[in-house]
């Protein structure tokens, strides 16, 4: 029997394949390379993998003016996916820089990089998903990789705890997503996004219930309230470079995916999901910001801040217009850089102090480590949406999208949330600069800090992106616009 296998467009898959190749090399390195070299080899190939994947994604972006379905219509080759892949590769790249300095151990280090690359590949794949099955598989692909690297610092109780929590709640969300997919499949008989949109009866209860469950699954990944509760625990417990990667890449993936799924598969149900997303956005903003107010642990605080940013970006999706779409895509660029950068600084401080970073032991850091301090300052300002960082333009776009949707109340909520957020973002600056360690009688960890060139390079790159995206709005928004053109509004 001759089976007509589908044509495989290798270029479409090139980012994933580069990363998988990198992962494979790392895995082999874990076995073949002598232990002392594993760290370097693993990091180098992960680095190379992310670079190559990013370049390929750029090529895909360049060559995919029109979106085409590939490999049996399972995935789509379009600029949205490529854009997402670039962001993920960028985050991954930064995460590798952070990891290299942070992960000094040799056991499982190659596996670590392999899994990091695998997770990146999964995300890239997920962003190309064009049916419910690839959606589910892609989601699980990167989730499983992440579960593992969350728990990879097994000597730390918190790392294991975070891994287990992530696994259980993540699987719970996946199960909901799966059941929702099944219901949608049942209601329309299709799993392909565009086919679902074509076949859907927007008033079908089954379809809507399925949509609700899919939203739960996606909202979980984006850590939107009330599906956010894993976030602080996992972010705090996971190794900091992993947290950095997760907070940037996972969120980017989940939000772009949400945009794609909702726009491609459920455009007719927009009257429902826009409202629901707006409410979820408000809930996320409220929960994230309020809880962050009282945090002392910086990682945890940043975790809550990522929840609130999920709220901001959900506003862009809820706005359901082209402005919101490109606003979201633009927002992700500085957001990911700031996020990785901020966690990178935390990682540096963590290594210096050998204990979890709190607002108290950040004291004086701004003066002791001028570069990291200034960078953290910039990241915090970016999170808070101050000008001179891309975070400002991102928020500007998000609010503009809400205005275009005539949801002024949503703008006001966003504004109020921003206001609250200032307290804790600037609280970090306050902790770093306004108090001196002398005042607090804090004992420094002793000795000169290890030279962390790669980490500093990573932080510097993040700063460049954070600040650069403010000045280079035009080219970036143009890219975002092209990427968002995939979706029809």
């Amino acid at each position: 029997m001759k089976i007509p296998t589908p044509n495989v467009d290798w270029l479409t898959l090139s980012p994933e394949l580069s990363l998988l190749a990198a992962a494979a090399i790392c895995l082999m390195a874990a076995v073949l390379v002598p232990a002392p070299w594993r760290r370097g080899v693993g990091a180098f190939f992960a680095f190379a993998g992310f670079i190559t994947a990013g370049i390929f994604a750029g090529v895909v972006f360049d060559r995919s003016v029109n979106s085409t379905l590939e490999v049996g219509n399972a995935i789509v080759r379009d600029r949205l996916g490529a854009f997402g892949a670039i962001i993920i590769c960028g985050s991954g790249l930064l995460a590798v820089f952070v990891s290299y300095s942070h992960r000094m151990r040799t056991d499982y280090v190659a596996e670590y990089y392999a899994l990091l690359a695998t997770a990146g590949a999964g995300m890239c794949f997920l962003l190309q998903a064009h049916n419910l099955m690839t959606l589910f598989l892609g989601l699980e692909w990167f989730s499983i990789a992440l579960y593992i690297i969350c728990a990879i610092d097994m000597e730390l109780e918190t790392s294991l705890e975070s891994g287990l929590k992530y696994l259980v709640i993540g699987s719970f969300g996946s199960a909901a997503l799966l059941f929702g997919s099944a219901l949608v499949y049942g209601a329309t008989g299709e799993i392909d996004f565009t086919a679902i949109a074509a076949a859907a009866d927007p008033h079908d209860g089954l379809l809507l219930a399925g949509l609700a469950m899919i939203l739960v699954g996606l909202g979980f990944k984006a850590s939107a309230a009330p599906f956010h509760q894993w976030t602080p625990d996992v972010y705090e417990g996971a190794p900091t470079p992993v947290t950095a990667f997760m907070s940037a890449a996972t969120k980017a993936t989940a939000l772009i995916l949400m945009l794609r799924v909702l726009r491609e598969a459920f455009p007719q149900e927009a009257h429902d999901w826009t409202i629901v997303l707006a409410v979820l956005a408000c809930a996320s903003l409220a929960v994230g910001n309020l809880a962050a107010l009282v945090q002392r642990n910086v990682k945890r605080m940043l975790a809550y801040s990522s929840i609130s940013h999920a709220g901001f970006m959900l506003i862009a999706i809820a706005a359901n217009n082209a402005l919101g779409a490109r606003g979201l895509l633009y927002y992700l660029i500085p957001y990911c850089a700031m996020s990785v950068g901020a966690f990178a600084v935390v990682a540096a401080r963590e290594r210096e102090l050998r204990q979890p970073v709190t607002l108290d032991n950040l004291a004086g850091m701004g003066w002791e480590r001028p570069f990291l301090g200034a960078a953290m300052w910039i990241f915090m300002l970016g999170f808070a949406g101050f000008p001179l960082t891309g975070g400002f333009v991102g928020k500007f776009y998000v609010f503009a999208a809400a205005y275009e949707r005539d949801w002024i109340w949503l703008m006001i909520v966003g504004v109020a949330a921003t206001l609250v957020s200032l307290y804790y973002y600037l609280g970090v600056v306050r902790a770093m600069y306004f108090r001196s360690p002398v005042e607090l009688q804090l004992m420094p960890a002793g000795g000169s800090p290890p030279r962390e060139v790669t980490l500093q390079v990573g932080v510097a790159l993040a700063v460049v992106v954070t600040v650069g995206s403010f000045f280079a709005v035009q080219p970036l928004i143009e890219i975002a616009r092209k990427a968002a053109e995939t979706l029809v509004f």
Binding site: L132, M133, F136, L137, E140, I144, Y147, I148, A151, M154, E155, E157, T158, L160, E161, S162, G163, L164, K165, L167, V168, S171, F172, S174, A175, L178, F179, S181, A182, L183, Y185, G186, G189, I191, P232, D233, V234, E236, G237, V294, Q295, N297, R300
Partner: protein, 102 residues
Amino acid sequence: MLGPDITWYLAISAILFSIGVLGVLLRRSPLIVLLSLEIMLNGGNLALIAFSRQTGEGTGQVFAIAVMAVAASEVVVGLGLIVAMSRRRLPLDVDRLRSLRG
């Protein structure tokens, strides 16, 4: 279709899903939580296969098989975690995993 209307199959699937939810929400042993997650996934699988039968095309079944693989993966990772925890003499009780909170 053999047996009753698809609705009944879906009812079974919904019950399974709910039982799985209950298990996750109620049980403190991570092992049983993992098992409950399996039940949830199986509820989804049943729905997929029922719908596949309903529409008469095999996608749902393929989906179900993929889900099985994924479920297996989750179990592997979950069990690995549990083993690692027990090695660390951590309590196998999700209610006592509270060092991360607030």
